[in-house]
């Protein structure tokens, strides 16, 4: 049953326009059709902008534990890197996709606050926790400046800026923004996986583990793994969120112990 379901989903999202359309109610008139289709066209531009590494959210400052894994000789070469990447993505799938999903499904302030507070208690690794809040607050800052037409983002920033009750974790902010911009939840979750993959690979090139061309080859090679993980972990409730990479978790916690380091996490 699960198989059939995911197969049909996969077919559908091969065409991004279709995936986006499913979220838009069927228009009644020709004018409405035209408006909806121009909205969908606009969505592509928002989607690509949100996923572009040029978006100044500070993702380049984080290695997801890769630097610590290198300094402890757990990752030494491109083969190790591939294994690391697959595990990092699986961990993002099992631990963070539920937060992305729940935030994108109900993009409102009350849900977001609850998810943010729960994630604060869930990210028990200080290095990962700080990386999450710094990227989340940067993303919210960028999104409020870019998507000025979305009132809720402005309100959130006004209400919670400087507040100690929320931490602005990345996954719920990402889900919330994608939800408000109009992505469907599957695209949102796949996009989150993509951003993780992109940042780990980008960190690997700067750590000199792999060259830029080989990095692009690797990115293409692991895409089917990434898709499998999206299908496996998507649409889950936050009560199911689990971490699946204890070795990487212990290693990432060591990040602050390194005498010399390139990355913040």
């Amino acid at each position: 049953m699960e198989q059939d379901h995911s197969a049909s989903k996969k077919m559908r999202v091969d065409d991004a326009a279709d995936a986006v359309m499913t979220e838009v109610p069927a228009p009644a008139t020709a004018t409405a059709t035209a408006t909806a289709s121009s909205m969908n066209q606009q969505l592509f531009w928002s989607q690509w902008q949100l996923l572009d590494s040029i978006l100044p959210t500070g993702g380049f400052a984080h290695s997801y534990g890769l630097e610590a894994a290198m300094q402890s000789r757990v990752v030494n070469n491109p083969e190790d890197l591939r294994l690391f990447l697959v595990q990092a993505m699986e961990n993002v799938g099992s631990l963070l996709l539920p937060f992305v999903y729940c935030a994108s499904k109900s993009p409102d302030a009350a849900t977001w606050v609850k998810l943010d507070q729960l994630l604060e208690a869930t990210l028990t690794n200080e290095v990962g926790r700080k990386a999450s809040t710094s990227q989340g607050s940067a993303l919210l800052r960028v999104a409020t400046s870019v998507f000025t037409e979305i009132q809720l983002l402005q309100d959130l920033r006004k209400t919670f800026f400087g507040s100690t009750s929320v931490s602005f974790h990345h996954a719920p902010i990402f889900g919330l923004i994608c939800g408000l911009v109009g992505f469907d939840s599957e695209t949102t979750q796949r996009a989150y996986m993509f951003v993780t993959m992109r940042d780990v690979i980008s960190a690997a090139t700067r750590l000199n583990l792999i060259g830029p061309l080989a990095a692009s080859v690797l990115q293409h090679q692991v895409a089917p793994d990434a898709e499998r993980m999206v299908q496996k972990w998507r649409d889950r409730d936050v009560s199911e969120a689990s971490q699946t990479a204890p070795l990487l978790d212990a290693l990432q916690g060591c990040h602050a112990y390194m005498f010399s380091r390139l990355f913040c996490s």
Partner: protein, 318 residues
């Protein structure tokens, strides 16, 4: 260890509390004449709870609870569920006598252990068991939920091994899931942790864990444990920082290096500490190690400072 009071049947004639109708064990620790005492202890198959009257020095006034299972392990389909309440100002330690074995799964049946504990004001509860060892094909699920107040003190050690790794049974179980939740007054989530290892689609557990055989977590929470937290954080930092160094640059690193040089040996034990909670009242250490013995040593060294509270140092007899 002194005389043993064994309470493996309904000791006080009461039925299990309505809140936990399926509980296989219920323990209540309260102050009696100024000392921590077990005022209720109930356990039924497959759980056994032993309360030795003397562990360590009597001056500590701590209660020790030994949780045992018939046959020394949990068979497929068993569900053990225990409720512990540690009253205001009381001290209790809960431990095991040997590693908890989780036997081979029969079909898709899981072995389950659930612990629900309430820790009162100024109370200390230490959950300091031996590791869980899952045999090949085993399926294990564990959930521990702790309700604490701002002045409660809590020690949780939660750890598991790759299996009977000395016999070559390494990361061969089907699934292991351990959930630890700590809630502050009014059910505010303070620490929400869930570790899941299952034989997987993208890579096997053995591939993920590499040469490491043990995964451990130590949680220290509360004002009484502040100095132990600080000490552990400092010592772990010192231990790990000498192990971590950037790879020696010998030309470009694009080329694959299938054989790490001897100097590139990985640390046999990797540990890191993180504070948690609003004021950093809690600390969690994550450890992965090649051998069980090295983790016993780590725990013995770093938890020795609990002796004044518990009357005996954790893992000193292991």
């Amino acid at each position: 260890m002194g005389e043993i009071m064994e309470l493996d049947a309904v000791a006080d004639g009461e039925p299990a509390t309505p809140a936990a109708p399926t509980a296989t064990g219920v323990v209540r620790v309260e102050k009696v004449r100024g000392r921590s005492a077990v005022t209720r202890c109930f356990a039924k198959y497959p759980l056994k709870i032993i309360v030795p009257s003397k562990v360590g020095s009597a001056s500590s006034g701590a209660v020790w609870l030994y949780s045992l299972t018939y046959g020394g392990g949990i068979v497929s389909g068993d569900r053990i569920s225990c409720t512990v309440s540690v009253g205001d100002g009381c001290t209790a330690a809960m431990t095991t006598q040997a590693s908890t074995k989780v036997y081979k799964a029969v079909g898709l049946k899981c072995s389950e252990q659930v612990l629900e504990a309430t820790v009162g004001k100024d109370a200390l509860f230490a959950v300091i068991p031996d590791p869980v060892t899952c045999f090949s094909t085993a399926r294990y699920y564990q959930k521990q939920v702790f309700h604490v107040s701002g002045s409660s003190n809590l020690v949780i050690v939660d750890w598991f091994t790759s299996g009977r790794y000395e016999n070559g049974e390494i990361w061969d179980f089907s699934s292991y899931k351990s959930v630890n939740h700590i809630f502050l007054e009014e059910d505010q989530p303070l620490f929400i942790d869930s570790v899941l290892l299952e034989q997987g689609s993208n890579c096997s557990i053995a591939e993920r864990m590499q040469e490491y055989n043990v995964v451990a977590m130590v949680v220290l929470l509360g004002p009484k444990l502040k100095h132990i937290q600080d000490q552990m954080q400092d010592e772990v930092k010192n231990m790990m920082s000498v192990q971590l160094r950037p790879p020696t640059s010998g030309g470009g690193r694009y080329a694959a290096r299938p054989q790490p040089l001897p100097s590139q040996k990985r640390p046999p034990l990797i540990a890191s500490c993180s504070p948690f909670g609003h004021m950093g009242t809690g600390m969690v250490a994550r450890i992965v190690a090649v051998s069980t013995e090295s983790v016993y040593n780590f725990l013995r060294d770093h938890l020795a400072a609990l002796e004044p509270f518990l009357g005996a140092a954790p893992y000193s007899a292991s």
